[in-house]
Amino acid sequence: MVLGLSILNLKNKINKRAVLWLFDRYGALFILLIVFAFCSFLSPAFLSLRNMENLLRQSSFIGLLALGLLFVVICGGIDLSIASIFALSCTLCALWQHWGIYLGYVDKLSFLFPPFIIFLLCTLVGTGIGLLNGLAVTKLRVPDFIVTLGTMITVRALAFSVTGGQTVFGVSEETRFIGAGTIFGVPFPVLVWILVTTVGYLTLQHTPLGVELFAIGQSKEAAIVSGILVDRVKLFAYAFSGTLAALSGVMMAGRLDSGEPRVGDGYELLAIAAVVIGGAPLSGGKGSVVGTLVGVLVLGSISNILNLLGIHPYPQMIFNAIVLLGAILLRAYLGSHE
C-alpha cells in the first residue's frame, strides 16, 4: 500500500521522459516480473526448481534463435529463415551420423565418428545459408523479407528432401548429451545459451561491430557516409543468425534423439515476438540482449504455465499473440507521449 502510494507520488513528480526511460531500460524486466508473479499465482508448481530447469531448457532453443535474430533486427533487417535452418540442421545432424542410412538401416553400428565434426558441419551449413541471405540482401539488393521468406521455404523443403520426409531416429550418445544432458545439474543447452548470450552481449555493447549494427539500423545513409562498411556488417549479422539457428538445431537433434524435419514450425515468429517484447522495434536501431533474453523467458513461461494447467499446445499460440500485442501496444502508448 505504502509502496503503491509512493509510486503514485513518484509518477506525479517525475516527468514523462523519466517513465519512458525506465520503461525503455527495464520494461521487459517489468513484464517478466508480472508474468512470473501471475504464473506462480496460477500454479504453485511454477516456481519449483524442477519446473524452472524445464522452463530454461525449453527456452534455450528459441533463445538462441532469438539472439541471432536480434542482431539482424538491430541493423534494420529481418530473418524469417531461422526456424527452417534450425530444422535442416537438426535433420542433417541425425542423418549424417548414420552412414548406414544409405544401406537402408539405422542403428548404433552405423554411427560415424567423431560426432563433433558433424556438429561443426551442421552449424557451418547454417552459417552458409545465413551468408547467402546476407549476400542476396546486400549485393543483389533484394528486400530482406523476400529473401529470407524464400530461404525459409527452400530450406524447410530441403530438410524434408534429405530424409524423404522421414524422421531419422536415433542419435549418438554425445549428441544426446548436448541436447538433454546436464553439467552440475544445469542442462547443457542452457549452458550454451548462457555462453552465447554473454558473447552476444559483449559483441553488441562492447565491440565496434556492435555499435555499427546499431548505427546502421538507425540510419543506413548516415552509416555509409560515416565510413562504415555497411554491407560487410549486415553480412555478418545474417551469418550470425544462421549460425545460431543451426547450433540450436544440432542440440535439438540430441534432445529429440532424432532428426526431425518438422521441428520448429513457427519458431521464427516466436523468435520475432521475443525480440519485439524485449524492446527491439522491427524498424531497427534499438534492442538489447537482456531484453531479448527476457522476451524469450516471458514466452517460455506462458507456454510452461499453460502446460502446467493442462491447456493444449494449439490454443497456447493465442496467448503468445496476446502478450506480443500487449507489449507492442504498451510501447506504442508510451512512445506516443514522446
Binding site: 562492447h206 565491440t207 565496434p208 548505427a215 540510419s219 548516415a222 565510413g227 562498411l229 534499438k286
Partner: protein, 510 residues
C-alpha cells in the same frame, strides 16, 4: 491594367524563432508570368506555400477576384483555381500518366472509372500544352522528371486552374527540357492563365517573365516590369546595398601554404544528376574552398562523388600527389577525406546514439583491445572534442537527438576531427543553425584551417561563404564556372556565375 486576380496584402508568417514574412504585398494580374525572386530565407517559398494552402498566414489579407479569401488547405487553394508545381513532384509512381493527370478525380461512367475517356482527355490536355508525343497510358515511374512536370501542369489544366505556381521548376531539368517547359509556360499565358514563377536563376526570369517581384528578409523590395529592368538592378534589389566583403586579417598567412592536399582533374560523372562535367580544382593544405551554386547545380553531387558515393566516369583525383580511386566513403575516410552531409539529421547523425558514440563511431576500430572497445579512451576522446568545439550537452551519454542544430553540426565536425581527416567537405554546415551557432561554426572552420585541415564548404548563402572561405568555386549545371578569390569578389559576382553568366575575370582553376 485590370483588376488583379490575386492580391496579397501585408501578409505575415512567423516560425519559431524567425519571422519569415514581415508584411508582404503582392499582386497577380490575369495572364501574366510573375516571377518571384530573392536570396535564401527571403520568404519566397513561405509565400507560395501560403498561397497554395500548405501554410496558414498569421495576419494580412488575401483577396481573390475582389473577395477576401482564407486559404486554409491545399483543397481550398484548388477550389480557388490555384495549382502548384512543387519541386518534389507529387505523382504516384505506379499509376499511368493519365491516372496521374486526373488523380483523385477520374472521369466516371455509372460509377466506374472510364479509362477510355480518361486517356482521351489526358491526351487532349497534353496536346493543349503542345506535347503530342506523350503516351498517357505509360506508367509514370518510367518517364523523365520533365515529363512528370508536364503531367502535374496538365493536372492543373484539368482542374481548370487560373493560377499556376512554379517552385524552382528548372532546378532538376536539362537545357532542352527547360526550353520545353518555357514553351509550355508561354502556352499557359496565352490561354490567360497567370503564372507565379519562383527561381534562383535570374537569366531565366529575364527570358520568361512579364514582371518580377524581389523579396528580401520577408518584405517586398520591388516589383518591376521585366522590360524595364536588368540583371544588375535585380541583384542589387536582392542584396540590398552593394556588399563589400570584409577584409580578413589572417588571409596572408593562409594563402602561404603551397602544399596541395587534394586535386581533382577533369572529373566527369554520368551517375549524378546533373552530370558532372569536367571539374578541375585543387585544394591547398589549410585552405577553405567555398563551393557555391544553386539547388541542382551539382555541388552536393560533386561532394558525394569525391567521397566515393558516386563513381566518376572519368578524370583523376589525387590526394597529396598520389592518384587514388575513391570507391566508397570507407576508402575515402581512410585516405583522410570525409563529408558532413546536407541532411544532417537523416544522413549525418545517429539520433538515438549518444553524443560520445556519434563522435567516435569511425574511430572505434582504432581504440580496441582484444576486440573490445576501450571506453575510457572513447570517453576521453569525446570529452576532448566536446570541450574543444564547445559542444553544449548535459552529458556525453545524451542522445544526440536532443541537441540544438548547431551543436549537432559540431558533433559531426568532431567526428571527423577525431578521425584526423585532412580534407573535410561540409555540405550546408550552417543550415538550420541559429545566428550564434553559425558564427561559432565559421570560427571553428577557420581555427581548424589554421591547424592545417583543408575544407570544402558548400553553401547557397553567398555572403556566408565569402565570410568563411579563402576562395569560392561556383558551379552551374554540373560545371565549374570559375574559382574566385574570396577577398576580391562580391556576392553579385557569385550570383551571376551561379546563374550561368560568365564574367570577365576569375582566377585560374588551380
Amino acid at each position: 491594367m485590370s483588376e488583379p486576380l490575386l492580391r496579397v496584402c501585408s501578409v505575415t508568417k512567423n516560425f519559431p524563432g524567425v519571422q519569415a514574412l514581415k508584411g508582404v504585398d503582392f499582386e497577380l494580374y490575369p495572364g501574366e508570368v510573375h516571377c518571384l525572386i530573392g536570396a535564401n530565407g527571403a520568404g519566397k517559398s513561405t509565400l507560395i506555400k501560403i498561397l497554395s494552402g500548405v501554410y496558414r498566414k498569421d495576419s494580412g489579407k488575401i483577396i481573390h477576384k475582389g473577395k477576401e479569401v482564407e486559404i486554409s488547405s491545399p483543397k481550398e487553394a484548388r477550389k480557388l483555381g490555384i495549382a502548384t508545381v512543387f519541386q518534389e513532384l507529387d505523382v504516384v509512381p505506379y499509376l499511368s500518366i493519365a491516372e496521374n493527370v486526373f488523380l483523385g478525380d477520374y472521369p466516371r461512367r455509372r460509377g466506374v472509372i472510364d479509362y477510355k475517356e480518361m486517356l482521351f482527355k489526358a491526351q487532349t490536355l497534353l496536346k493543349a500544352l503542345g506535347e503530342e508525343d506523350i503516351d498517357p497510358s505509360l506508367p509514370i515511374a518510367g518517364v523523365s522528371t520533365a515529363v512528370k512536370q508536364l503531367v502535374v501542369i496538365a493536372r492543373a489544366l484539368a482542374l481548370s486552374a487560373e493560377v499556376v505556381i512554379f517552385d524552382e521548376p528548372t532546378a532538376v531539368l536539362g537545357i532542352e527540357e527547360q526550353q520545353r517547359l518555357f514553351r509550355v509556360i508561354r502556352e499557359l499565358r496565352r490561354r490567360g492563365i497567370s503564372v507565379i514563377y519562383v527561381s534562383h536563376r535570374l537569366e531565366e526570369i529575364i527570358e520568361l517573365g512579364d514582371r518580377v517581384t524581389v523579396l528580401r528578409d520577408g518584405i517586398r523590395v520591388s516589383t518591376r516590369a521585366i522590360s524595364e529592368t536588368n540583371l544588375e538592378q535585380l541583384v542589387e534589389d536582392m542584396m540590398g546595398q552593394p556588399t563589400k566583403p570584409k577584409v580578413k586579417s589572417e588571409l596572408e598567412v593562409r594563402i602561404g601554404s603551397e602544399e596541395v592536399v587534394l586535386s581533382v582533374m577533369d572529373l566527369y560523372s554520368d551517375f549524378t544528376r546533373p552530370k558532372l562535367k569536367g571539374i578541375s580544382f585543387s585544394l591547398r593544405k589549410g585552405e577553405v574552398l567555398g563551393l557555391f551554386g544553386f539547388v541542382g547545380s551539382g555541388r552536393s553531387e560533386l561532394a558525394r562523388c569525391l567521397i566515393g558515393c558516386f563513381p566518376p566516369t572519368s578524370g583523376r583525383i589525387l590526394i597529396e600527389g598520389k592518384p587514388v580511386s575513391l570507391v566508397s566513403p570507407w576508402k575515402a575516410m581512410h585516405l583522410g577525406l570525409a563529408m558532413a552531409p546536407e541532411e544532417r539529421k537523416s544522413q549525418g547523425l545517429f539520433l538515438d546514439l549518444s553524443v560520445s558514440l556519434n563522435i567516435t563511431l569511425p574511430t572505434l576500430r582504432d581504440v580496441t583491445r582484444r576486440g573490445l572497445i576501450r571506453w575510457k579512451e572513447v570517453n576521453s576522446v569525446s570529452e576532448h572534442f566536446t570541450k574543444e568545439l564547445e559542444i553544449k550537452t548535459p552529458s556525453l551519454a545524451q542522445p544526440v537527438r536532443y541537441l540544438s542544430g548547431g551543436n549537432q553540426q559540431k558533433v559531426i565536425l568532431a567526428r571527423w576531427f577525431a578521425k584526423r581527416c585532412k580534407v573535410l567537405i561540409l555540405d550546408e554546415p550552417m543550415r538550420g543553425v541559429d545566428v550564434a551557432g553559425k558564427r561559432e561554426i565559421a570560427h571553428l572552420i577557420r581555427e581548424k584551417a589554421k591547424e592545417g585541415v583543408s575544407f570544402i564548404v558548400i553553401s547557397s548563402e553567398a555572403e556566408e561563404l565569402l565570410e568563411v572561405s579563402d576562395r569560392v568555386a561556383v558551379m552551374f549545371r554540373g560545371q565549374l564556372m570559375g574559382i574566385m578569390d574570396a577577398t576580391r569578389c562580391d556576392v553579385a559576382e557569385l550570383l551571376k556565375l551561379a546563374s550561368g553568366i560568365k564574367i570577365g575575370r576569375f582566377c585560374s582553376a588551380v
